[in-house]
Symmetry: none
Subunit: 215 residues, 4 copies
Amino acid sequence: MSTTPRSRLRAQKTPLPHAAVQQDGTRRRILEEALQLFANEGFHGASIRTLAKAVGLQPSTLYSHFPSKEHVLAELARVGHEAHHEALREALLSAGPGPVEQVRALVRAHTLQHATHPQLAVVVNEELYALAPELAAPALAQREKSSALLVEAISRGVALGVFTPPEVLVTAAAIATMGLRIPYWYEPSEALPIDRLADLHAELALRMLGVRLSP
Amino acid sequence: MSTTPRSRLRAQKTPLPHAAVQQDGTRRRILEEALQLFANEGFHGASIRTLAKAVGLQPSTLYSHFPSKEHVLAELARVGHEAHHEALREALLSAGPGPVEQVRALVRAHTLQHATHPQLAVVVNEELYALAPELAAPALAQREKSSALLVEAISRGVALGVFTPPEVLVTAAAIATMGLRIPYWYEPSEALPIDRLADLHAELALRMLGVRLSP
Amino acid sequence: MSTTPRSRLRAQKTPLPHAAVQQDGTRRRILEEALQLFANEGFHGASIRTLAKAVGLQPSTLYSHFPSKEHVLAELARVGHEAHHEALREALLSAGPGPVEQVRALVRAHTLQHATHPQLAVVVNEELYALAPELAAPALAQREKSSALLVEAISRGVALGVFTPPEVLVTAAAIATMGLRIPYWYEPSEALPIDRLADLHAELALRMLGVRLSP
Amino acid sequence: MSTTPRSRLRAQKTPLPHAAVQQDGTRRRILEEALQLFANEGFHGASIRTLAKAVGLQPSTLYSHFPSKEHVLAELARVGHEAHHEALREALLSAGPGPVEQVRALVRAHTLQHATHPQLAVVVNEELYALAPELAAPALAQREKSSALLVEAISRGVALGVFTPPEVLVTAAAIATMGLRIPYWYEPSEALPIDRLADLHAELALRMLGVRLSP
DNA sequence: AATGAATGAGCCTTCATTCAT
DNA sequence: CATGAATGAAGGCTCATTCAT
């Protein structure tokens, strides 16, 4: 009854993270367009034909670059998780040794990543289920490692008596979750620039952990 | 390369909320099975054939009960949003007049709803994009009203000087978001029963709002 | 439902006949692999990609050696029919002038050819229909000449009163047919070596023609 | 370079054997057209689209009647082998107890079957390789049983001293083979009607077995 | 000779849906 | 209400082939 081009996100087209930039020309263009399509219409909702048309190729040509539609998603998942993990790791490295600084750094990086690459965040978080287990595995492993970084920082803070969360894992989940929904409601604006959002999320995270910053 | 029955949720099959129980037998069984399928495989990933088989009917028979596949999703969305909104309203009614009590009641109800009906939560939150605007509209309207309830409670607390969030809307989003991801990681257990999870989320919400409960 | 590598023949990989040996290296390797593939999976069932992989080349490279997939089959057909015809001609030359000796020589050669080159026999006999008429024509012409050799030998035997078949053409067809099915059931063994099979078929042929050898 | 509608057989369209006549209307028409197509262009050379068009249906409609293209072939194989086996069995039943009569009856039935249903014979003999093993299995089992009938009759004749073949199995193979190639060269004519062909093949078979009928 | 990207037609099959029964 | 045959569009993917390098 209705031919509906509906879109899941408010975000405009955003570039791939640096991790994927080095890829060869056509392959990269395929990834870029697939990112938009999978983000907006879902993996199952986007067709190879639509993707090919978006890239300006014949459907069959896609198979010179990826062995299947699933592999395109798998590559996006790999790129997305890698970029995310790298961002967290760098944040941790440039933060001081204190748990407060570290959590702040982690949350800021997490937030910035999701606000800067909303489509990638959505695809990586919502469409992974469409992947065969063996193709999803690498991404899931990296995801585990990323969330461990936060849990460890929190645990150290608890051990040091700096953090007093009501329960560590539930609180860690709550903190990580704040970032995940960003693509669905947030749009950068002068009133709320990305960097300010990152600060706010860090502040909220620390509040959940029982840290009182301003009296 | 892979024949993969992959599932998005850890949750087992859960019943429809009371709001949908009154529906006629077959129609209700269709909704129940559609709920499982849309939750696990996505709206586009689940086919009318699969749904029919799950219900024990021929595909064509579904059209005696719903005018289209989209309408099945729309009905689930209606039911889900209605149940959710109703839960929030009741929570608010049975809470006292204080903002702390009200936020606690709202967050608890929000959490309970998502933990008790994880499939419905997922379908309602992730699959609405597959609906034509006119079919999604009622659900989106109700969603607006629901989130307004929280924002209002927070705002009154701010006005009364009870709450001191760093920023009202971002904080409200963070609080609401805690609930939305529950289906993806939470499973009821003795160590963390649903009611305890609700308490924890309420506590975390109040912390974000600057309320110090235990000294 | 099934990913099935099925094979039509029991025969292992066999070499091309001498007639084709003189061909240049890569071109010959293409013919050799095509022979296996066309024999086992049929002309339409084997793809240029599979063939290229078997040879260790890219699909496009095949076109440096043959103008099309059909031409590969045509060349196999040519080689096969030529080798077959050559074998019959040589057999006839080294046989004495008597019809019995000649039929024996022809049948033996026919049998040996089919037992020694089962793949080629299958391709040449079963896959020719996949060729455009103009490409199939040379092979069909040679086939005509080959079967004429047998019919002539028989006819002379009849004229001389040595052979008393119930009907010349049907008997000739029956004799020729014995060889054609060899690839489907025969495997060389100590109990039934190729040469013995050839003798048996010759004996059977002569019996059909009414010749009583052993009293 | 060439769009070639080539045909493997000289035979015109022939009906399905009685065994398949009882099938429901559309399903049967699919089988009938598939028989022509698979016989003339091979299983891989015939497409679902071509088949659908020949039946006057949409391609998708075929899947209301058969779960896959392979299953259509499997059903033809079943029907063909069943009809063939049935013909042999009936021939044996109406023959007297003597080995000569029995071989004559078997060969006549075998020949009649192949001359009357040439396309079925071709499909059943040449296209079975395109079937997944589990789908081909029933047909292969029946084939085994059918050829056992001939071998048994011959063996009994040998035991009784009536037959003196040079070697039982090779002779049996030669006898059975005569029938298999009929579709490729035989066309019913006044000069050589089907029944006469059957007599000739029976005569040739008995000659191979060492039986001298007319002095 | 060989490559790899690209093509356009075509592959088998599944899709949501309709309709006569 | 329920069915089963039918539809027409679209699904992911493979086909043989071309061409610039």
